[in-house]
Symmetry: C2
Subunit: 313 residues, 2 copies
């Protein structure tokens, strides 16, 4: 890790997002360029070719450099499996369990995912989000103290409980994937419209907040409210989204995996529009939120890994 | 309705299922033959041609006869709209609101669907199931008394509360459609296997019964339990089904639309395999069930309609 440059990449199921970064004098990562490639499930096992095509010009210009990868690329369907680090665990254990190999004489490191066992004896897993939590923890020393709940909305939303700098437990909800399936392939929606109608979204939140067993028994109202003129078809996706995000947030605030009375606020990390929707839902439950830039948190995570690699060298 | 023969058909979204029946001396329907055609959403508006192709041989052999249709054929996407009868309502109101027209000089009657307004101000609708409830009520006079809860599992499961012979209210859950979407198009299942593994199914029921907000936060365990060797991939569909049916049944037994303490048992009407799954889930909640033949209940419903048409003639 002597080079002044590094490539860091979040390589998920559906896409690869890479940054060329300069490592400045106090070890901070400064992004110089960004590149995109195909996700793990889309490259037909041609991982090296895909990485080369994203990084070739950077290496031509700046020379050989280390490469850091996180996300599904370390799963059993990825390039090399980096086994899950089991929670409760400090995030610095991630750097202790990197999977390391070489590509064209350059060192490549894959950050392992994390697993946990929920109290109902079901396992949960994440890959990629653990690095963001690591970055979030590193951004401010005081985050190492006390109990914090992080929410990372996405295709698979992760709710992560951090206690005194350690990831205790986390839960996945498939809110994003359910939205995709139900908006594109179900009887509920005729024409997909992802523009947010806040009143319709809040109507969905409201419904999802009120009743146990709501999801199965409530989601059909996306159709019936259109039939009865209570909902404009162009707002139906927002209403569906409200129900799904509302059910997700209700599941989180009533979860037995943590006690919301001990949680001062929820830290939201993710895409702006999605984070806004979770903010609305959490505020509906009188839960305060603090929002964080996903890009910054990600880079802070890679930076921590690099620091540890350097220290171990 | 003088003819000794009648065609009755459940014409839903995805298929048309018709019976040629003889009306015997005490007005009972005796099925003679069965025929199948395309559903409402698959015929490109060619409703008459589809009906003719299913019924042509019967009419050739037995002459002109009346035709009774129920299901989505009466929806706004169907042949002719038969507006919903609003609950609470006696099922004999269905016969008062038939949509009648002629095809090749034969009278055609479309049974209207039913609608209700749930206490959370969301409407619900059904088309086809109301006729089954009507048939179920007609099968035994004592069913006209007291409170009964019926469950009709399917793509869209209907839970129907009957009070003193009147349909009070009902709820739809999209359990079947969710199963289709999640087993075929999600990250949860690699290979669809609809053969029931009862232990895996019960594991899903168990999980869904335990916790509020379970659905969003629990369904991802279909994937993680496979990853951690707790679930065989070939049993994963059964486990998913258990979660979905379990969430549906939990939603029903905790619903504010009725009070389970006043319900002696749940009457199940539907396909054998699906009914068995709901039976397992309901028994898990210590709820007794009585199962009914969907075909018999259907014919009993058409029979009631015919009786009323004759009486009005």
């Amino acid at each position: 890790m002597d080079s002044g440059f590094v490539i860091v990449a979040d390589w998920g199921s559906s896409k690869l997002r890479a940054h060329l970064c300069q490592i400045d004098t106090d070890d901070k990562l400064v992004p110089i360029d960004v590149g995109f490639g195909l996700g793990v499930t889309k490259v037909n096992g041609q991982f090296q070719q895909e990485l080369e095509s994203v990084s070739a010009n950077w290496i031509l210009q700046y020379g050989e450099m280390p490469i850091l990868l996180s996300g599904q690329i370390g799963a059993n369907i990825g390039w090399h499996e980096a086994p899950y680090v089991r929670c409760p665990a400090k995030t610095n254990q991630l750097a202790d369990h990197l999977y390391q190999f070489s590509v064209n004489d350059m060192p490549v490191y894959i950050v392992p995912g994390m697993s946990c066992m929920l109290d109902n004896d079901t396992p949960d897993v994440m890959r990629g989000e653990e690095l963001q939590v690591m970055g979030w923890l590193a951004q401010k020393p005081e985050r190492q103290q006390g109990q914090h709940l992080l929410c990372l909305p996405g295709t698979h939303t992760k709710w992560v409980l951090v206690n005194n700098g350690q990831i205790e437990v986390f839960k996945t909800s498939m809110t994003g994937e359910l939205y995709e399936l139900l908006s594109s392939n179900s009887v509920l929606i005729q024409t997909v419209n992802n523009t947010l109608s806040e009143p319709s979204f809040m109507q969905g939140i409201e419904l999802a907040s009120r009743q146990t067993g709501f999801f199965s028994h409530g989601v059909f109202s996306v159709r019936t409210r259109q039939l009865f003129g209570q909902l404009n078809p162009e707002d139906s996706c927002s209403y569906l989204s409200g129900i799904l995000v509302g059910a997700d947030v209700r599941g989180a605030v009533t979860s037995s995996a943590w006690n919301m009375e001990n949680i001062a606020c929820v830290h939201l990390i993710g895409a702006t529009d999605l984070v806004f929707r979770f903010e609305l839902a959490l505020k509906h439950h009188d839960v305060d939120v603090i929002k964080h830039e996903v890009e910054e948190v990600n880079l802070a995570g890679y930076q921590q890994i690099i620091k540890q690699i350097k220290a171990a060298d």
